[in-house]
């Protein structure tokens, strides 16, 4: 089992003919993901390797039955690409693009709020159900199929580090999902925690957060009230200076809120096993999940 995506998910890639789009489409295909279509306006009728390219998402869906879109469109056009998929009826939208203006995302977020769809990202590595499908840019080889651990994170390479350590300890993953480093994103921690809670194959969760905002505190409160599965947490940014944006648009301590200390304290209070030394996270998972 897995959350949000599985081996039957039919993926279309928006921005498939760009450099990133081509490279990662091939990587996804090599992993066995069913990439059924690409969309690049003006390039309809062409092919990217064996994948047919369409001018619009509606055309691609009608011809191929795609139900998930993976977006590599550059920032100035990315919000439009998300909205196009949302209006066309795509059910899972994975937006990799980094650098979308906040004002654009505010509109997107409010527009999709009452629609039956899930947006993952933007500014994220995507989502992978090891052994079934990879919809994103993460390196496939570090993952171990078969579960029993779900991983949710605001970061990219930091998630790879965490997954790599899990796999190194012989712990497999059900689904690993990057929710993105932007201040306004689609799917949040709680959405993923709920889904992992309901997934019978997921027996424990690793949650990776960072400074900025209050998503980790809210997730911790949700876990305290609803969570039955063990959770290991990690927060990046203990040494980040306040008032500075640490690479990710959303990673900023402002006015004393959004600090790593505050998040770690809230998570501990909710019974989450917080790891403060990233080098030993895998070992800690072995201890915590070994008992469950």
């Amino acid at each position: 089992m897995s959350i949000f995506v599985n081996a039957d998910t039919r993926v279309l890639v928006q921005g498939i003919t760009g450099r990133e789009g081509q490279f990662h489409t091939r990587q996804c295909l090599a992993y066995g993901t069913r990439v059924v279509a690409g969309v690049t306006p003006g390039k309809g009728g062409q092919k990217m390797d064996e994948v047919p390219v369409f001018d619009t998402v509606r055309q691609a869906m009608a011809a191929t039955g795609a139900n998930c879109s993976l977006i590599f469109v550059p920032p100035p056009f990315a919000a439009d690409a998300i909205l196009e998929s949302a209006e066309a009826g795509i059910s899972v939208i994975v937006a990799i693009t980094e650098g979308i203006p906040v004002m654009d995302m505010l509109k997107v977020k409010n527009f999709i709020q009452n629609k039956m769809l899930r947006l993952i990202g933007p500014n994220c590595p995507g989502i992978i159900t090891p052994g079934a499908c990879k919809i994103g840019i993460m390196p496939a080889a570090i993952h171990k199929p078969g579960g029993p651990i779900g991983v949710v994170s605001r970061s990219g390479t930091l998630t790879y580090e965490v997954v790599h350590q899990l796999t190194g300890q012989g712990i497999g993953q059900t689904t690993c999902i990057g929710i993105g480093g932007d201040p306004v994103n689609g799917t949040n921690f709680i959405d993923c925690l709920k889904a992992f809670e309901e997934d019978p194959d997921t027996r424990g969760i690793v949650m990776v957060g960072e400074i900025g905002g209050s998503a980790e505190e809210e997730a911790a409160a949700w876990i305290a009230a609803n969570g039955s599965k063990p959770v290991v947490g990690f927060i990046a940014g203990l040494t980040a200076p306040p008032g500075r944006r640490m690479g990710h648009a959303g990673a900023i301590v402002s006015g004393g809120s959004g600090t790593a200390e505050g998040k770690i304290a809230a998570m501990r209070q909710s019974g989450i096993a917080v790891c403060e030394d990233l080098g030993t996270l895998g070992e800690m998972c072995k201890r915590v999940f070994g008992k469950s």
Binding site: V102, A251, L278
Partner: protein, 386 residues
């Protein structure tokens, strides 16, 4: 991106948001001329730096005559202004804003920002103006009016009424306030601001409403569609190494520790800084070379890290995955040779061909140490700086 108060007021003027008459000056003579042009005293001389708390630091002074202007402008221009936002090193003041003094009846607070939690626009206002708003929020939260605006409908009249009545404005001030907030909101959205703050917004004895102060921050991700705003960037207000890094599209923030570090990805970069601290050393910087980490990026990264004299050792942490470690190692070796790296470097990398990568580092003849994992890297870095 941040801009100066006088630049923010220029934009206010363009959007018909009332401001006191005033002009920026870069010398004492210009300040006197600016005061003369205002046609009456008193005037206020305000230091222009990218930090708040200027008044308390002695950067804002009243002048009742041309002689006064000469004196206070002379004091402020060239001073190193220290406020709670500048850090102990302070900022050199290179320009002032000379403004007409006003007959103030009441000081208010007004700000607009995108609210990440609710994904709405947020208008915050308070009758407790002229004070540190974070302090007001902590001590007397009931004095803050918050109105959320759905981005899909934009600002409506009722939003403005909620703010205006929340501020207990006198009836005569309601109309000018409505116009001010409507125009300010248009500026906020059209220019992709991450913050517009007026503290204080003043109510004059004759029921006018004006922005006595002005602060605007812009969303860096949206600057591509505001080329005119880019012209407001003041490199004097930024760290020179950060300016150089940004020219190479590197995400670098200077810190005051002794271990330089270069990492791909922002989250892993923060975590790497934290690891350095845990190992008993202290990070000299944040540097994200991006997911790909090309040889050119690594070379520029080395150069910038080494420009910081505090750096006693460097930790490179690249989690490539798809990236080939032999290519990366080759790049690191070449960059280290080109930039004449003079301090020990610990390289932790992960990805395809990692064994080959480590061999290249070991055989390079340079002071490059390979680390097998993060734990190992942290221990090696700590032993270097001890």
């Amino acid at each position: 991106m941040k801009i100066h108060e006088y630049q923010a007021k220029e934009l206010f003027g363009r959007y018909d948001v009332p401001i006191p008459a005033g002009r920026a000056a870069f010398s004492v003579d210009e300040a006197v001329a600016a005061a003369d042009a205002l046609g009456g005293y008193p005037v206020v001389v305000k230091a222009q730096i990218h930090a708040g708390g200027r008044g308390k630091g002695g950067g804002v002074k009243l002048a009742r005559s041309a002689g006064d202007v000469t004196t206070v402008a002379g004091q402020i221009l060239g001073m190193t202004l220290v406020t709670h936002q500048t850090g102990p090193e302070g900022r050199l003041v290179k320009k002032v804003l000379v403004e007409q003094g006003l007959d103030i009846a009441k000081e208010l607070y007004l700000s607009l920002l995108p609210d990440r939690g609710s994904a709405k626009y947020l208008i915050m206002a308070s009758e407790a103006g002229g004070m540190d708003i974070e302090k007001v929020a902590a001590e007397t939260p009931e004095k803050i009016v918050k109105v959320w605006v759905d981005p899909l409908i934009g600002l409506q009249s009722f939003h403005v009424r909620e703010v205006g009545f929340g501020l207990n404005l006198p009836p005569a001030a309601m109309k000018p306030f409505t116009k001010l907030l409507t125009n300010l909101f248009r500026l906020f959205v059209e220019l992709d601001c991450s913050l517009v703050e007026i503290n204080p917004l003043v109510l004059t004895a004759d029921d006018r409403v004006l922005a006595l102060d002005a602060k605007i921050n812009f969303d860096d991700n949206a600057l591509y569609r505001h080329k005119d705003i880019l012209a407001y960037r003041d490199l004097d207000e930024e760290d020179p190494l950060e300016v150089e890094a940004s020219a190479h599209h590197l995400n670098y923030i200077k810190l005051d520790g002794n271990v330089g570090n270069m990492v791909n990805g922002a989250g892993l970069a923060m975590a790497t800084m934290d690891i350095i601290k845990r190992a008993g050393a202290s990070p000299a910087n944040f540097l994200d070379v991006g997911g790909g980490a090309s040889a050119e990026m690594v070379e520029n990264g080395f150069r910038i890290i080494l420009s910081d004299p505090n750096v006693k050792g460097i930790l490179i942490n690249i989690f490539g995955g798809i990236l080939r470690c032999d290519v990366l190692a080759q790049g690191v070796v070449e960059a280290a040779k080109k930039t004449r790296v003079s301090v020990p470097v610990v390289v932790r990398m992960e990805g395809t061909n990692v064994e080959e990568g480590r061999r290249i580092l070991a055989e390079s003849g340079l002071d490059l140490t390979g680390a097998v994992d993060l734990k190992d890297a942290a221990a090696k870095v700590a032993s270097i700086v001890k």
